[in-house]
């Protein structure tokens, strides 16, 4: 089993290395002529106004929180799914109770307006 993970490590290193090598190669093959106009930041053709790293809406953060809860729920459901074939109907009902509790949480978030984009 350790062999599997060695292969994964090698594959990840290679999959990060291949695009990096391609970009390096293109860096040598391409011209380098920077000038002041080319290097300006794009803002619809005018000069940029203000600092770039602006404050963002809080709604993104709320979506992140809700995603976190449902992601952890799904990860908890994976061992149950692997053991599904050998469990009795009681195990299935337990998992349905678990899912129902979290669906209750989703309904609460929905009614509180946490799922609105604006």
């Amino acid at each position: 089993m350790f062999n599997d993970w060695i292969y994964i490590a090698i594959f990840i290193v290679i999959s990060l290395f291949l695009p990096a090598a391609a970009i390096m190669m293109a860096y040598f093959l391409s011209p380098h002529k920077p000038n002041a106009i080319k290097n300006t930041i794009y803002e619809c053709g005018v000069e940029t106004v203000g600092d770039t790293w602006v404050q963002f809406k809080v709604q993104y953060y709320i979506f992140g929180l809700i995603f976190l809860i449902f992601d952890v729920e799904s990860i908890f459901l994976y061992p149950w799914a692997v053991a599904y074939q050998i469990m009795s109907i009681y195990g299935v009902l337990e998992a349905i109770a678990f899912i129902l509790i979290l669906v209750g949480g989703l309904m609460y978030a929905w009614r509180k307006g946490a799922l609105q984009w604006i």
Partner: protein, 403 residues
């Protein structure tokens, strides 16, 4: 095994015997074979993208009632190679004030994360990169790292539009990750293992017949994960001027582009492996090359569907997209998983046709119930009927009629 029936394992066997004969220790031989095998697989995947780009351009062209590229080589096959050569020789412009580390590493992560998924996909009965026992979790984990590429790209370019577009893209990706992860549960449940090769072997009726609604939700959410039309808010070409890609040029942009197509093909590979029976087909176990051919045909069919959706649907608005995933897809996928689990336990497993019929009936019932519920509760007016506009147009038409 002969060379014709199973070429890849034959060559791997021959090579390992050769290296052992030279006196190398067996561990080193194994690592060397891994390096050669993974290098070849990654290179083939990257080169395959040129064919995918050609395929997509031809089909989109035909749907739009025009030829695709057909000048450069027979049927335009060399167009992608010409584009590759062009993009290799374009200048890498680095704008003022960029954060160089995120800016440089974004395209590498975007491609690397998708390429790493190819390590666990079973291409034929005994050709799989590595037979991980937790293949599904590995796919979910590494696929999630692709989102880092978008955030790094948006943050590193010193550009407000790129940053905002990166935020929206990540919000979309994590929102669609919820039903995506839940829908992966269905093949795991029906086959009892997270190993992709086991899931393919357990598909006596294909899983698309046992859980068609689950397959549909998986398909929709994986297209949203890639960021293709109709979900391509992140790089809406006509709205946000390429989104987080604005400040990229040359091969760095080319890498984002390659990553996009590679990701689309990877999800069609996953769809074929999880729901369409992977490499299964007549005589696929005895002649593994046939398994490879079947898998290729199935994933090409899924990829064709992805291209069709791209060519024919308009783009979603961002709030429509978020509503769709949180209010429709997440409850629906949870319902499908729990109902499939319940009904599959209650139906007798030995009568195959009863099981298939019962599960298909369940999916039809859930689909019709969802349709009715959406009809009743989801009435959002598309546009406001403005009485002033109607009266004005009636007045002008009367004038034209009289004159």
């Amino acid at each position: 095994m002969s060379f014709v029936a199973d070429p890849i394992n034959f060559i791997a066997d021959w090579l390992s015997k050769l290296l052992l004969g030279w006196g190398l220790p067996p561990d080193l031989v194994m690592v060397l074979l891994f390096i050669i095998g993974s290098g070849l697989l990654a290179t083939v995947a990257m080169l395959w993208v040129t064919i995918l780009i050609w395929y997509e351009r031809k089909i989109i062209g035909r749907i739009q009632d025009r030829f695709g590229p057909n000048r450069v080589g027979p049927y335009g096959l060399f167009q992608s190679i010409a584009d590759m050569i062009k993009i290799f020789t374009k200048e890498h412009i680095s704008p003022d004030g960029v954060d160089w580390f995120p800016f440089t590493i974004a395209p590498i992560i975007a491609v690397g994360a998708v390429l790493a998924v190819w390590a666990v996909i079973p291409f034929s009965a005994n050709f799989v990169g590595t037979n991980l026992s937790v293949g599904i979790l590995f796919i979910l984990a590494i696929g999630g790292i692709g989102e880092f590429g978008i955030v790094f790209g948006g943050w590193g370019s010193n550009n407000k539009y790129a940053l905002l577009s990166a935020f929206r893209a990540v919000a979309q990706l994590i929102s669609y990750e919820t039903p995506y992860v839940i829908c992966f549960l269905i093949p795991v449940m029906l086959s009892g293992s997270m190993n992709l090769n086991d899931i393919v072997k357990a598909q006596d009726p294909w899983f698309i017949f046992l859980a068609p609604l689950g397959a549909l939700i998986f398909f929709i959410t994986s297209i949203a994960e890639v960021g293709r039309t109709p979900f391509d808010l992140a790089e809406a070409e006509s709205e946000l001027v390429a989104g987080f890609n604005i400040e990229y040029s040359g091969l760095k942009f080319g890498m984002f582009y390659v990553g996009d197509f590679l990701h689309s093909f990877t999800i069609s590979l996953l769809f074929a492996a999880l729901f369409l029976g992977g490499w299964k087909g007549p005589w696929a176990e005895q002649i593994p090359v046939l398994g490879f051919v079947y898998f290729f045909i199935k994933s090409s069919a899924a990829y064709f569907l992805v291209i069709l959706l791209r060519a024919s649907m308009p783009r979603f608005r961002i709030d429509q997209m978020m509503d769709f995933t949180w209010k429709v897809l997440t409850p629906l996928s949870l319902t499908v998983v729990s109902m499939t689990a319940l009904v599959d336990k209650l139906l007798p497993a030995n009568l195959i046709w009863v099981r298939i019929g019962g599960l298909i009936l369940l999916n039809i019932i859930i689909f019709i119930a969802t349709d009715r519920l959406l009809d009743i509760y989801w009435k959002k007016p598309l546009f406001q009927k403005n009485n002033q506009v109607e009266d004005a147009s009636k007045a002008s038409s009367v004038k034209l009629g009289a004159g």
